[in-house]
Symmetry: C2
Subunit: 323 residues, 2 copies
Amino acid sequence: MPLSEFELIERYFRRCGAARADVRLGVGDDAALLETGAGMTLVAAVDTLVEGVHFPPGCSAESIGHRALAVNLSDLAAMGARPAWALLALTLPSAAASWLEGFTHGFAALAEAHQVALVGGDTTHGPLAVTVTLLGQVPAGTALRRGGAAQGDVLFVSGTPGDAAAGLALEQGRLAAGEHSEYLRRRFLFPTPRVAFGERLRGYASACIDVSDGLLADAVKLARASGCGVELDAERLPLSAALGALGTRQARELALAGGDDYELCFAVTPGALGRLEAELPAAQWGYARIGALCAAPTVRVRDATGELSVAATGYDHFSAPQP
Amino acid sequence: MPLSEFELIERYFRRCGAARADVRLGVGDDAALLETGAGMTLVAAVDTLVEGVHFPPGCSAESIGHRALAVNLSDLAAMGARPAWALLALTLPSAAASWLEGFTHGFAALAEAHQVALVGGDTTHGPLAVTVTLLGQVPAGTALRRGGAAQGDVLFVSGTPGDAAAGLALEQGRLAAGEHSEYLRRRFLFPTPRVAFGERLRGYASACIDVSDGLLADAVKLARASGCGVELDAERLPLSAALGALGTRQARELALAGGDDYELCFAVTPGALGRLEAELPAAQWGYARIGALCAAPTVRVRDATGELSVAATGYDHFSAPQP
Protein backbone atom coordinates (compact mmCIF):
# COMPACT_ATOMS: atom_id res chain seq x y z
CA MET A 1 0.00 0.00 0.00
CA PRO A 2 1.44 3.36 -0.98
CA LEU A 3 2.39 5.88 1.67
CA SER A 4 0.37 9.09 1.87
CA GLU A 5 2.22 12.37 1.54
CA PHE A 6 1.66 12.93 5.28
CA GLU A 7 3.10 9.52 6.23
CA LEU A 8 6.00 10.05 3.88
CA ILE A 9 6.89 13.36 5.57
CA GLU A 10 6.44 11.90 9.06
CA ARG A 11 8.52 8.82 8.35
CA TYR A 12 11.38 10.26 6.33
CA PHE A 13 11.61 14.01 6.62
CA ARG A 14 10.31 15.20 10.01
CA ARG A 15 13.66 14.53 11.65
CA CYS A 16 16.35 14.61 8.99
CA GLY A 17 19.79 16.14 9.32
CA ALA A 18 21.10 18.06 12.32
CA ALA A 19 18.99 19.51 15.15
CA ARG A 20 19.67 23.24 15.44
CA ALA A 21 18.65 25.64 18.21
CA ASP A 22 18.02 28.44 15.67
CA VAL A 23 15.14 26.53 14.01
CA ARG A 24 11.97 27.98 15.60
CA LEU A 25 9.71 25.86 13.39
CA GLY A 26 10.81 23.16 10.96
CA VAL A 27 9.09 20.64 8.68
CA GLY A 28 5.30 20.43 8.93
CA ASP A 29 3.81 23.94 8.71
CA ASP A 30 3.32 26.23 5.69
CA ALA A 31 6.86 27.60 6.06
CA ALA A 32 9.90 27.29 8.32
CA LEU A 33 10.85 29.92 10.93
CA LEU A 34 14.59 30.51 11.35
CA GLU A 35 16.66 32.83 13.57
CA THR A 36 19.53 34.52 11.76
CA GLY A 37 22.57 35.84 13.63
CA ALA A 38 23.36 39.51 14.30
CA GLY A 39 26.02 40.89 11.96
CA MET A 40 25.56 37.99 9.56
CA THR A 41 24.55 38.05 5.89
CA LEU A 42 22.13 35.38 4.69
CA VAL A 43 23.46 33.18 1.86
CA ALA A 44 21.05 31.24 -0.39
CA ALA A 45 21.60 28.77 -3.23
CA VAL A 46 19.41 26.31 -5.14
CA ASP A 47 20.30 23.40 -7.42
CA THR A 48 18.27 20.74 -9.18
CA LEU A 49 19.34 17.19 -10.05
CA VAL A 50 17.26 15.53 -12.79
CA GLU A 51 17.42 11.80 -13.55
CA GLY A 52 19.10 11.18 -16.90
CA VAL A 53 20.73 14.62 -16.87
CA HIS A 54 22.65 14.95 -13.61
CA PHE A 55 22.80 11.27 -12.76
CA PRO A 56 22.26 8.09 -14.81
CA PRO A 57 18.90 6.29 -14.52
CA GLY A 58 19.16 3.64 -11.81
CA CYS A 59 21.80 5.59 -9.84
CA SER A 60 21.86 4.67 -6.14
CA ALA A 61 19.31 6.56 -4.05
CA GLU A 62 21.93 7.17 -1.35
CA SER A 63 24.18 8.89 -3.90
CA ILE A 64 21.30 11.05 -5.15
CA GLY A 65 20.51 12.15 -1.59
CA HIS A 66 24.18 12.92 -0.94
CA ARG A 67 24.76 14.76 -4.21
CA ALA A 68 21.56 16.85 -4.01
CA LEU A 69 22.89 18.40 -0.80
CA ALA A 70 26.59 18.33 -1.80
CA VAL A 71 26.14 20.51 -4.89
CA ASN A 72 24.54 23.20 -2.74
CA LEU A 73 27.09 22.85 0.08
CA SER A 74 29.70 23.46 -2.60
CA ASP A 75 27.95 26.66 -3.70
CA LEU A 76 27.96 27.97 -0.13
CA ALA A 77 31.60 26.90 0.31
CA ALA A 78 32.48 29.02 -2.74
CA MET A 79 31.00 32.06 -0.95
CA GLY A 80 32.97 31.32 2.23
CA ALA A 81 29.66 30.74 4.03
CA ARG A 82 28.63 28.35 6.78
CA PRO A 83 25.55 26.28 5.81
CA ALA A 84 22.64 25.99 8.24
CA TRP A 85 19.20 25.13 6.82
CA ALA A 86 17.97 23.11 3.83
CA LEU A 87 14.63 22.84 2.03
CA LEU A 88 14.01 19.78 -0.13
CA ALA A 89 11.65 19.63 -3.12
CA LEU A 90 11.44 16.00 -4.17
CA THR A 91 9.55 14.83 -7.26
CA LEU A 92 9.09 11.06 -7.36
CA PRO A 93 7.44 8.63 -9.76
CA SER A 94 6.35 6.57 -6.73
CA ALA A 95 6.93 6.55 -2.99
CA ALA A 96 9.02 3.35 -2.72
CA ALA A 97 10.19 2.81 0.86
CA SER A 98 13.56 1.31 -0.07
CA TRP A 99 14.39 4.21 -2.37
CA LEU A 100 13.33 6.78 0.23
CA GLU A 101 15.38 5.06 2.93
CA GLY A 102 18.49 5.18 0.75
CA PHE A 103 17.86 8.77 -0.31
CA THR A 104 17.29 10.12 3.19
CA HIS A 105 20.28 8.14 4.51
CA GLY A 106 22.56 9.79 1.94
CA PHE A 107 21.06 13.24 2.52
CA ALA A 108 20.98 13.03 6.32
CA ALA A 109 24.53 11.73 6.74
CA LEU A 110 25.96 14.68 4.83
CA ALA A 111 23.57 17.14 6.50
CA GLU A 112 24.61 15.96 9.96
CA ALA A 113 28.31 16.18 9.05
CA HIS A 114 27.80 19.86 8.20
CA GLN A 115 25.28 20.71 10.96
CA VAL A 116 22.53 21.34 8.42
CA ALA A 117 18.88 20.97 9.49
CA LEU A 118 16.16 20.01 7.00
CA VAL A 119 13.50 22.63 7.75
CA GLY A 120 10.97 22.32 4.94
CA GLY A 121 10.10 20.86 1.60
CA ASP A 122 7.57 19.60 -0.86
CA THR A 123 7.00 16.08 -2.16
CA THR A 124 5.24 15.75 -5.49
CA HIS A 125 4.47 13.09 -8.05
CA GLY A 126 6.34 13.21 -11.35
CA PRO A 127 9.62 12.34 -13.12
CA LEU A 128 12.47 11.87 -10.62
CA ALA A 129 14.08 15.21 -9.75
CA VAL A 130 15.51 16.73 -6.57
CA THR A 131 15.80 20.44 -5.85
CA VAL A 132 17.58 21.51 -2.68
CA THR A 133 17.66 25.07 -1.42
CA LEU A 134 20.46 25.66 1.05
CA LEU A 135 20.62 28.65 3.37
CA GLY A 136 23.61 29.68 5.42
CA GLN A 137 25.35 32.69 6.86
CA VAL A 138 28.59 34.62 6.49
CA PRO A 139 29.88 37.55 8.57
CA ALA A 140 28.70 40.74 6.84
CA GLY A 141 31.12 42.04 4.23
CA THR A 142 33.34 38.95 4.13
CA ALA A 143 31.69 36.73 1.49
CA LEU A 144 33.82 35.48 -1.39
CA ARG A 145 32.60 36.25 -4.92
CA ARG A 146 33.54 35.35 -8.47
CA GLY A 147 34.32 38.89 -9.41
CA GLY A 148 36.92 40.10 -6.89
CA ALA A 149 40.18 39.11 -8.58
CA ALA A 150 42.59 41.13 -10.75
CA GLN A 151 45.30 40.46 -13.35
CA GLY A 152 48.35 38.87 -11.79
CA ASP A 153 46.34 37.02 -9.15
CA VAL A 154 47.38 33.38 -8.84
CA LEU A 155 44.78 30.68 -9.49
CA PHE A 156 44.37 27.56 -7.35
CA VAL A 157 42.10 24.53 -7.23
CA SER A 158 41.27 22.23 -4.31
CA GLY A 159 41.36 18.43 -4.47
CA THR A 160 41.90 16.42 -7.64
CA PRO A 161 39.56 17.54 -10.44
CA GLY A 162 38.58 15.08 -13.18
CA ASP A 163 37.95 12.10 -10.88
CA ALA A 164 34.19 12.64 -10.89
CA ALA A 165 33.98 12.88 -14.70
CA ALA A 166 35.92 9.60 -14.92
CA GLY A 167 33.57 8.10 -12.33
CA LEU A 168 30.51 9.13 -14.35
CA ALA A 169 32.06 7.65 -17.52
CA LEU A 170 32.61 4.40 -15.59
CA GLU A 171 28.99 4.42 -14.36
CA GLN A 172 27.86 4.85 -17.96
CA GLY A 173 30.17 2.12 -19.31
CA ARG A 174 32.14 4.60 -21.44
CA LEU A 175 35.44 3.94 -19.65
CA ALA A 176 37.38 1.10 -18.02
CA ALA A 177 39.74 1.85 -15.14
CA GLY A 178 40.53 -1.55 -13.56
CA GLU A 179 41.56 -1.41 -9.91
CA HIS A 180 40.83 2.35 -9.72
CA SER A 181 37.19 2.02 -10.77
CA GLU A 182 35.71 1.96 -7.29
CA TYR A 183 37.64 5.04 -6.16
CA LEU A 184 36.66 7.05 -9.24
CA ARG A 185 33.03 5.93 -9.08
CA ARG A 186 32.79 7.09 -5.48
CA ARG A 187 34.27 10.47 -6.44
CA PHE A 188 31.25 10.93 -8.75
CA LEU A 189 28.64 9.34 -6.48
CA PHE A 190 29.78 10.89 -3.19
CA PRO A 191 31.64 14.15 -3.85
CA THR A 192 33.19 16.02 -0.91
CA PRO A 193 32.09 19.67 -0.81
CA ARG A 194 34.91 21.86 0.57
CA VAL A 195 32.86 23.66 3.21
CA ALA A 196 35.51 24.07 5.92
CA PHE A 197 38.12 25.14 3.37
CA GLY A 198 35.74 27.69 1.83
CA GLU A 199 35.18 29.26 5.24
CA ARG A 200 38.94 29.37 5.88
CA LEU A 201 39.55 31.08 2.52
CA ARG A 202 37.79 34.26 3.70
CA GLY A 203 40.50 36.91 3.98
CA TYR A 204 42.85 35.01 1.65
CA ALA A 205 41.01 34.51 -1.66
CA SER A 206 40.30 37.52 -3.90
CA ALA A 207 37.65 35.47 -5.79
CA CYS A 208 36.21 31.97 -5.60
CA ILE A 209 33.90 29.68 -7.60
CA ASP A 210 32.91 26.09 -7.19
CA VAL A 211 33.87 23.68 -9.95
CA SER A 212 30.70 22.04 -11.22
CA ASP A 213 30.77 22.51 -15.02
CA GLY A 214 34.47 21.68 -15.46
CA LEU A 215 37.60 23.38 -14.10
CA LEU A 216 38.43 25.32 -17.24
CA ALA A 217 34.86 26.56 -17.79
CA ASP A 218 34.52 27.63 -14.17
CA ALA A 219 37.97 29.25 -14.07
CA VAL A 220 36.91 31.24 -17.14
CA LYS A 221 33.71 32.33 -15.34
CA LEU A 222 35.77 33.57 -12.38
CA ALA A 223 38.18 35.36 -14.72
CA ARG A 224 35.40 37.02 -16.76
CA ALA A 225 33.52 38.12 -13.63
CA SER A 226 36.81 39.70 -12.52
CA GLY A 227 37.36 41.38 -15.92
CA CYS A 228 40.38 39.21 -16.75
CA GLY A 229 41.58 36.35 -18.94
CA VAL A 230 43.09 33.13 -17.65
CA GLU A 231 46.28 31.12 -18.23
CA LEU A 232 46.41 27.56 -16.95
CA ASP A 233 49.47 25.32 -16.72
CA ALA A 234 48.41 21.75 -17.51
CA GLU A 235 51.64 20.43 -15.95
CA ARG A 236 50.47 21.71 -12.57
CA LEU A 237 47.00 20.09 -12.62
CA PRO A 238 46.66 18.04 -9.41
CA LEU A 239 45.75 14.57 -10.68
CA SER A 240 44.81 11.67 -8.45
CA ALA A 241 46.80 8.46 -8.91
CA ALA A 242 43.61 6.81 -10.16
CA LEU A 243 43.02 9.48 -12.80
CA GLY A 244 46.71 9.60 -13.78
CA ALA A 245 46.58 5.85 -14.47
CA LEU A 246 44.31 6.63 -17.45
CA GLY A 247 47.31 8.31 -19.10
CA THR A 248 48.36 11.96 -18.89
CA ARG A 249 46.43 13.14 -21.92
CA GLN A 250 43.03 11.69 -20.95
CA ALA A 251 43.56 12.59 -17.29
CA ARG A 252 44.24 16.24 -18.11
CA GLU A 253 41.26 16.42 -20.44
CA LEU A 254 38.99 15.08 -17.71
CA ALA A 255 40.52 17.43 -15.13
CA LEU A 256 40.03 20.47 -17.38
CA ALA A 257 36.75 19.74 -19.12
CA GLY A 258 34.99 17.13 -16.96
CA GLY A 259 32.44 18.28 -14.44
CA ASP A 260 30.79 17.39 -11.14
CA ASP A 261 34.00 17.97 -9.16
CA TYR A 262 32.57 20.29 -6.48
CA GLU A 263 36.04 21.55 -5.75
CA LEU A 264 36.90 25.23 -5.20
CA CYS A 265 38.77 27.28 -7.78
CA PHE A 266 40.08 30.48 -6.20
CA ALA A 267 42.38 33.42 -6.86
CA VAL A 268 44.92 34.95 -4.47
CA THR A 269 46.72 38.27 -4.91
CA PRO A 270 50.53 38.01 -5.12
CA GLY A 271 50.76 39.96 -1.85
CA ALA A 272 48.65 37.38 0.03
CA LEU A 273 50.47 34.27 -1.26
CA GLY A 274 52.90 34.17 1.67
CA ARG A 275 50.10 34.29 4.25
CA LEU A 276 48.10 31.65 2.38
CA GLU A 277 51.03 29.24 2.22
CA ALA A 278 52.03 29.84 5.84
CA GLU A 279 48.57 29.81 7.44
CA LEU A 280 46.71 27.35 5.18
CA PRO A 281 49.46 24.97 4.05
CA ALA A 282 48.64 23.29 0.75
CA ALA A 283 49.77 19.91 2.06
CA GLN A 284 47.22 20.14 4.89
CA TRP A 285 44.31 21.69 3.00
CA GLY A 286 44.81 19.94 -0.34
CA TYR A 287 45.02 22.57 -3.04
CA ALA A 288 47.38 23.36 -5.91
CA ARG A 289 48.49 26.37 -7.95
CA ILE A 290 47.28 25.92 -11.54
CA GLY A 291 47.75 29.27 -13.28
CA ALA A 292 47.09 32.97 -13.14
CA LEU A 293 44.73 35.72 -14.29
CA CYS A 294 45.93 37.93 -17.13
CA ALA A 295 44.84 41.28 -18.55
CA ALA A 296 43.92 40.05 -22.03
CA PRO A 297 40.43 38.47 -22.15
CA THR A 298 41.84 35.19 -23.47
CA VAL A 299 41.84 31.57 -22.31
CA ARG A 300 45.18 29.74 -22.59
CA VAL A 301 46.21 26.30 -21.43
CA ARG A 302 49.90 25.35 -21.75
CA ASP A 303 51.91 22.22 -21.14
CA ALA A 304 55.61 21.40 -21.60
CA THR A 305 55.14 21.11 -25.37
CA GLY A 306 53.41 24.46 -25.83
CA GLU A 307 49.83 25.72 -26.07
CA LEU A 308 46.99 23.19 -25.99
CA SER A 309 43.85 23.47 -28.01
CA VAL A 310 40.96 23.05 -25.59
CA ALA A 311 37.74 22.11 -27.29
CA ALA A 312 35.29 21.34 -24.53
CA THR A 313 34.82 24.19 -22.09
CA GLY A 314 32.26 22.70 -19.78
CA TYR A 315 28.71 21.55 -19.60
CA ASP A 316 25.92 23.81 -20.76
CA HIS A 317 22.36 22.66 -20.24
CA PHE A 318 20.85 24.20 -23.33
CA SER A 319 23.51 24.20 -26.04
CA ALA A 320 25.19 20.87 -25.17
CA PRO A 321 23.89 17.63 -26.70
CA GLN A 322 21.78 15.75 -24.16
CA PRO A 323 23.10 12.46 -22.72
CA MET B 1 19.78 28.42 -32.48
CA PRO B 2 19.21 27.42 -28.87
CA LEU B 3 20.15 29.80 -26.08
CA SER B 4 23.03 28.84 -23.80
CA GLU B 5 22.34 28.63 -20.08
CA PHE B 6 24.36 31.85 -19.65
CA GLU B 7 22.33 33.74 -22.30
CA LEU B 8 19.11 32.41 -20.83
CA ILE B 9 20.00 33.75 -17.38
CA GLU B 10 21.16 37.10 -18.79
CA ARG B 11 18.08 37.56 -20.96
CA TYR B 12 15.32 36.39 -18.66
CA PHE B 13 16.44 36.16 -15.06
CA ARG B 14 19.18 38.71 -14.32
CA ARG B 15 16.61 41.45 -13.71
CA CYS B 16 13.32 39.82 -12.74
CA GLY B 17 10.91 40.97 -10.07
CA ALA B 18 11.46 43.90 -7.73
CA ALA B 19 14.78 45.64 -7.05
CA ARG B 20 15.50 45.56 -3.30
CA ALA B 21 18.16 47.43 -1.34
CA ASP B 22 18.70 44.44 0.97
CA VAL B 23 20.01 42.25 -1.88
CA ARG B 24 23.82 42.47 -1.60
CA LEU B 25 24.34 40.01 -4.48
CA GLY B 26 21.63 38.52 -6.68
CA VAL B 27 21.51 36.23 -9.71
CA GLY B 28 24.86 35.27 -11.27
CA ASP B 29 27.22 34.05 -8.53
CA ASP B 30 27.32 30.71 -6.66
CA ALA B 31 24.78 31.99 -4.11
CA ALA B 32 22.83 35.12 -3.23
CA LEU B 33 23.77 37.45 -0.35
CA LEU B 34 20.84 38.96 1.55
CA GLU B 35 20.57 41.33 4.52
CA THR B 36 17.95 40.31 7.06
CA GLY B 37 16.38 42.82 9.43
CA ALA B 38 17.11 43.15 13.16
CA GLY B 39 14.39 41.61 15.34
CA MET B 40 12.99 39.67 12.38
CA THR B 41 12.59 35.92 11.97
CA LEU B 42 13.43 34.42 8.57
CA VAL B 43 10.54 32.54 6.90
CA ALA B 44 11.22 29.97 4.16
CA ALA B 45 8.92 27.88 1.97
CA VAL B 46 9.37 25.77 -1.17
CA ASP B 47 6.84 24.37 -3.64
CA THR B 48 7.11 22.50 -6.92
CA LEU B 49 4.72 22.59 -9.88
CA VAL B 50 5.03 19.62 -12.26
CA GLU B 51 3.42 19.55 -15.71
CA GLY B 52 0.55 17.07 -15.80
CA VAL B 53 0.24 17.07 -11.99
CA HIS B 54 -0.17 20.71 -10.90
CA PHE B 55 -1.19 22.11 -14.26
CA PRO B 56 -2.46 20.52 -17.49
CA PRO B 57 -0.02 19.96 -20.35
CA GLY B 58 -0.12 23.00 -22.65
CA CYS B 59 -1.10 25.39 -19.83
CA SER B 60 -0.13 29.00 -20.55
CA ALA B 61 3.46 29.83 -19.62
CA GLU B 62 2.33 33.10 -18.03
CA SER B 63 0.00 31.20 -15.71
CA ILE B 64 2.77 28.75 -14.75
CA GLY B 65 5.10 31.65 -13.89
CA HIS B 66 2.35 33.32 -11.84
CA ARG B 67 1.28 30.17 -10.03
CA ALA B 68 4.83 29.00 -9.21
CA LEU B 69 5.30 32.17 -7.18
CA ALA B 70 1.69 32.46 -5.96
CA VAL B 71 1.68 29.09 -4.19
CA ASN B 72 4.73 30.16 -2.18
CA LEU B 73 3.39 33.66 -1.51
CA SER B 74 0.34 31.91 -0.10
CA ASP B 75 2.52 29.82 2.24
CA LEU B 76 4.20 32.95 3.57
CA ALA B 77 0.82 34.71 3.88
CA ALA B 78 -0.35 31.81 6.08
CA MET B 79 2.56 32.54 8.46
CA GLY B 80 1.73 36.26 8.56
CA ALA B 81 5.09 36.96 6.90
CA ARG B 82 6.20 39.56 4.38
CA PRO B 83 7.88 37.99 1.32
CA ALA B 84 11.21 39.37 0.09
CA TRP B 85 13.44 37.06 -1.97
CA ALA B 86 12.80 34.18 -4.39
CA LEU B 87 14.99 31.45 -5.89
CA LEU B 88 13.78 29.72 -9.03
CA ALA B 89 14.73 26.19 -10.12
CA LEU B 90 13.36 25.71 -13.61
CA THR B 91 13.53 22.40 -15.47
CA LEU B 92 12.68 22.75 -19.17
CA PRO B 93 12.50 20.35 -22.11
CA SER B 94 13.88 23.15 -24.33
CA ALA B 95 14.69 26.84 -24.01
CA ALA B 96 11.94 28.26 -26.23
CA ALA B 97 12.02 32.05 -26.22
CA SER B 98 8.24 32.52 -26.44
CA TRP B 99 7.62 30.18 -23.50
CA LEU B 100 10.31 31.87 -21.40
CA GLU B 101 8.93 35.31 -22.19
CA GLY B 102 5.47 34.27 -21.05
CA PHE B 103 6.78 32.52 -17.96
CA THR B 104 8.97 35.40 -16.79
CA HIS B 105 6.19 37.90 -17.53
CA GLY B 106 3.82 35.98 -15.26
CA PHE B 107 6.43 35.50 -12.56
CA ALA B 108 7.79 39.05 -12.65
CA ALA B 109 4.41 40.80 -12.59
CA LEU B 110 3.42 39.01 -9.37
CA ALA B 111 6.92 39.43 -7.88
CA GLU B 112 6.85 43.17 -8.51
CA ALA B 113 3.37 43.48 -7.01
CA HIS B 114 4.69 41.95 -3.77
CA GLN B 115 8.15 43.59 -3.80
CA VAL B 116 9.87 40.21 -4.26
CA ALA B 117 13.33 40.09 -5.89
CA LEU B 118 14.51 37.04 -7.82
CA VAL B 119 17.96 36.47 -6.31
CA GLY B 120 19.08 33.08 -7.58
CA GLY B 121 18.16 29.92 -9.37
CA ASP B 122 19.09 26.99 -11.52
CA THR B 123 18.00 26.14 -15.06
CA THR B 124 18.24 22.52 -16.10
CA HIS B 125 17.16 20.31 -18.94
CA GLY B 126 14.37 17.80 -18.25
CA PRO B 127 10.60 17.34 -17.96
CA LEU B 128 8.83 20.67 -17.31
CA ALA B 129 8.80 21.49 -13.59
CA VAL B 130 9.17 24.67 -11.56
CA THR B 131 10.38 24.86 -7.97
CA VAL B 132 10.29 28.23 -6.23
CA THR B 133 11.83 28.87 -2.84
CA LEU B 134 10.45 31.99 -1.22
CA LEU B 135 12.10 33.75 1.70
CA GLY B 136 10.55 36.47 3.80
CA GLN B 137 10.51 37.90 7.29
CA VAL B 138 8.17 38.30 10.21
CA PRO B 139 8.71 40.21 13.48
CA ALA B 140 10.17 37.71 15.98
CA GLY B 141 7.53 35.87 17.98
CA THR B 142 4.55 36.97 15.89
CA ALA B 143 4.34 34.31 13.14
CA LEU B 144 1.04 32.51 12.63
CA ARG B 145 1.10 28.71 12.79
CA ARG B 146 -1.28 25.83 12.16
CA GLY B 147 -1.13 24.66 15.74
CA GLY B 148 -2.12 27.64 17.86
CA ALA B 149 -5.92 27.27 18.04
CA ALA B 150 -8.15 25.71 20.74
CA GLN B 151 -11.65 24.27 20.99
CA GLY B 152 -14.28 26.94 20.64
CA ASP B 153 -12.17 29.06 18.28
CA VAL B 154 -14.15 30.25 15.26
CA LEU B 155 -12.99 29.22 11.79
CA PHE B 156 -12.87 31.57 8.80
CA VAL B 157 -11.84 31.42 5.17
CA SER B 158 -10.81 34.24 2.84
CA GLY B 159 -12.15 34.70 -0.69
CA THR B 160 -14.42 32.23 -2.47
CA PRO B 161 -13.00 28.69 -2.34
CA GLY B 162 -13.92 26.22 -5.09
CA ASP B 163 -13.52 28.61 -8.01
CA ALA B 164 -10.05 27.31 -8.86
CA ALA B 165 -11.15 23.67 -8.82
CA ALA B 166 -13.97 24.57 -11.20
CA GLY B 167 -11.49 26.47 -13.36
CA LEU B 168 -9.20 23.43 -13.55
CA ALA B 169 -12.16 21.21 -14.48
CA LEU B 170 -13.01 23.70 -17.24
CA GLU B 171 -9.40 23.66 -18.49
CA GLN B 172 -9.55 19.88 -18.60
CA GLY B 173 -12.92 19.80 -20.36
CA ARG B 174 -14.60 18.04 -17.41
CA LEU B 175 -17.08 20.88 -16.79
CA ALA B 176 -19.12 23.46 -18.69
CA ALA B 177 -19.93 26.81 -17.08
CA GLY B 178 -21.16 29.06 -19.90
CA GLU B 179 -20.70 32.78 -19.28
CA HIS B 180 -18.78 32.13 -16.04
CA SER B 181 -16.07 30.05 -17.69
CA GLU B 182 -13.54 32.82 -18.17
CA TYR B 183 -13.84 34.01 -14.55
CA LEU B 184 -13.44 30.50 -13.14
CA ARG B 185 -10.54 29.67 -15.47
CA ARG B 186 -8.68 32.77 -14.35
CA ARG B 187 -9.23 31.83 -10.71
CA PHE B 188 -7.27 28.63 -11.43
CA LEU B 189 -4.69 30.15 -13.78
CA PHE B 190 -4.01 33.36 -11.82
CA PRO B 191 -4.83 32.82 -8.13
CA THR B 192 -4.52 35.79 -5.75
CA PRO B 193 -2.36 34.96 -2.73
CA ARG B 194 -3.61 36.81 0.37
CA VAL B 195 -0.30 38.33 1.39
CA ALA B 196 -1.51 41.66 2.80
CA PHE B 197 -4.37 39.95 4.66
CA GLY B 198 -1.99 37.34 6.15
CA GLU B 199 0.21 40.11 7.51
CA ARG B 200 -2.82 41.90 8.97
CA LEU B 201 -4.00 38.70 10.69
CA ARG B 202 -1.02 38.74 13.08
CA GLY B 203 -2.43 39.46 16.51
CA TYR B 204 -5.94 38.33 15.51
CA ALA B 205 -5.66 34.72 14.28
CA SER B 206 -4.86 31.92 16.76
CA ALA B 207 -3.87 29.63 13.86
CA CYS B 208 -3.70 29.89 10.08
CA ILE B 209 -3.12 27.64 7.06
CA ASP B 210 -3.25 28.26 3.35
CA VAL B 211 -5.87 26.36 1.36
CA SER B 212 -4.07 24.40 -1.34
CA ASP B 213 -5.32 20.81 -1.00
CA GLY B 214 -9.00 21.72 -0.47
CA LEU B 215 -10.70 23.73 2.29
CA LEU B 216 -11.92 20.76 4.29
CA ALA B 217 -8.59 18.91 4.14
CA ASP B 218 -6.66 22.00 5.14
CA ALA B 219 -9.12 22.97 7.89
CA VAL B 220 -8.62 19.44 9.27
CA LYS B 221 -4.84 19.92 9.20
CA LEU B 222 -5.19 23.16 11.18
CA ALA B 223 -7.56 21.48 13.65
CA ARG B 224 -5.31 18.42 14.14
CA ALA B 225 -2.19 20.56 14.59
CA SER B 226 -4.17 22.42 17.28
CA GLY B 227 -5.31 19.17 18.94
CA CYS B 228 -8.97 19.68 17.95
CA GLY B 229 -11.71 18.48 15.65
CA VAL B 230 -13.62 20.66 13.22
CA GLU B 231 -17.26 21.47 12.47
CA LEU B 232 -18.08 23.26 9.23
CA ASP B 233 -21.41 24.81 8.24
CA ALA B 234 -21.92 24.29 4.50
CA GLU B 235 -24.63 26.98 4.50
CA ARG B 236 -21.96 29.55 5.38
CA LEU B 237 -19.48 28.65 2.62
CA PRO B 238 -18.71 31.86 0.69
CA LEU B 239 -19.49 30.92 -2.91
CA SER B 240 -18.80 33.16 -5.88
CA ALA B 241 -21.75 33.88 -8.17
CA ALA B 242 -19.94 31.92 -10.90
CA LEU B 243 -19.50 28.87 -8.70
CA GLY B 244 -23.03 29.11 -7.30
CA ALA B 245 -24.38 29.00 -10.86
CA LEU B 246 -23.21 25.37 -11.04
CA GLY B 247 -25.87 24.54 -8.44
CA THR B 248 -25.53 24.49 -4.66
CA ARG B 249 -24.54 20.86 -4.36
CA GLN B 250 -21.68 20.92 -6.88
CA ALA B 251 -20.57 24.37 -5.75
CA ARG B 252 -20.26 23.24 -2.13
CA GLU B 253 -18.43 20.07 -3.10
CA LEU B 254 -15.90 22.10 -5.07
CA ALA B 255 -15.56 24.65 -2.25
CA LEU B 256 -14.94 21.91 0.33
CA ALA B 257 -12.93 19.33 -1.58
CA GLY B 258 -11.45 21.19 -4.56
CA GLY B 259 -7.95 22.56 -4.34
CA ASP B 260 -5.62 25.25 -5.65
CA ASP B 261 -7.54 28.04 -3.90
CA TYR B 262 -4.58 29.71 -2.16
CA GLU B 263 -6.96 31.31 0.27
CA LEU B 264 -6.33 31.54 4.03
CA CYS B 265 -8.21 29.40 6.54
CA PHE B 266 -7.78 30.81 10.05
CA ALA B 267 -9.06 30.48 13.59
CA VAL B 268 -9.94 33.28 15.99
CA THR B 269 -10.59 32.94 19.73
CA PRO B 270 -14.09 34.03 20.83
CA GLY B 271 -12.50 36.85 22.83
CA ALA B 272 -10.82 38.32 19.74
CA LEU B 273 -13.89 38.19 17.45
CA GLY B 274 -14.99 41.71 18.29
CA ARG B 275 -11.59 43.21 17.51
CA LEU B 276 -11.36 41.23 14.26
CA GLU B 277 -14.75 42.40 13.05
CA ALA B 278 -14.14 46.01 14.09
CA GLU B 279 -10.56 46.39 12.87
CA LEU B 280 -10.52 44.07 9.85
CA PRO B 281 -14.12 44.27 8.56
CA ALA B 282 -15.11 41.17 6.60
CA ALA B 283 -16.71 43.29 3.89
CA GLN B 284 -13.41 45.08 3.28
CA TRP B 285 -11.02 42.13 3.63
CA GLY B 286 -13.21 39.45 2.08
CA TYR B 287 -13.52 36.59 4.53
CA ALA B 288 -16.35 34.54 6.01
CA ARG B 289 -17.08 32.53 9.15
CA ILE B 290 -17.45 28.86 8.20
CA GLY B 291 -17.39 26.87 11.42
CA ALA B 292 -15.56 26.20 14.66
CA LEU B 293 -13.03 23.95 16.33
CA CYS B 294 -14.36 21.32 18.73
CA ALA B 295 -12.83 19.12 21.42
CA ALA B 296 -13.66 15.76 19.82
CA PRO B 297 -11.16 14.77 17.12
CA THR B 298 -13.92 14.50 14.50
CA VAL B 299 -14.69 16.15 11.17
CA ARG B 300 -18.29 17.26 10.65
CA VAL B 301 -19.92 19.20 7.85
CA ARG B 302 -23.55 20.23 8.28
CA ASP B 303 -26.12 21.92 6.08
CA ALA B 304 -29.79 22.81 6.63
CA THR B 305 -30.82 19.19 6.06
CA GLY B 306 -28.37 17.67 8.55
CA GLU B 307 -24.91 16.12 8.44
CA LEU B 308 -23.22 15.66 5.06
CA SER B 309 -21.09 12.72 4.16
CA VAL B 310 -17.85 14.11 2.81
CA ALA B 311 -15.91 11.64 0.74
CA ALA B 312 -13.06 13.56 -0.78
CA THR B 313 -10.84 15.22 1.78
CA GLY B 314 -8.27 16.78 -0.48
CA TYR B 315 -5.46 16.00 -2.81
CA ASP B 316 -2.69 13.66 -1.70
CA HIS B 317 0.25 13.18 -4.03
CA PHE B 318 0.97 9.58 -3.23
CA SER B 319 -2.31 7.88 -2.40
CA ALA B 320 -4.54 9.74 -4.88
CA PRO B 321 -5.00 8.39 -8.39
CA GLN B 322 -2.89 10.37 -10.84
CA PRO B 323 -4.59 12.66 -13.38
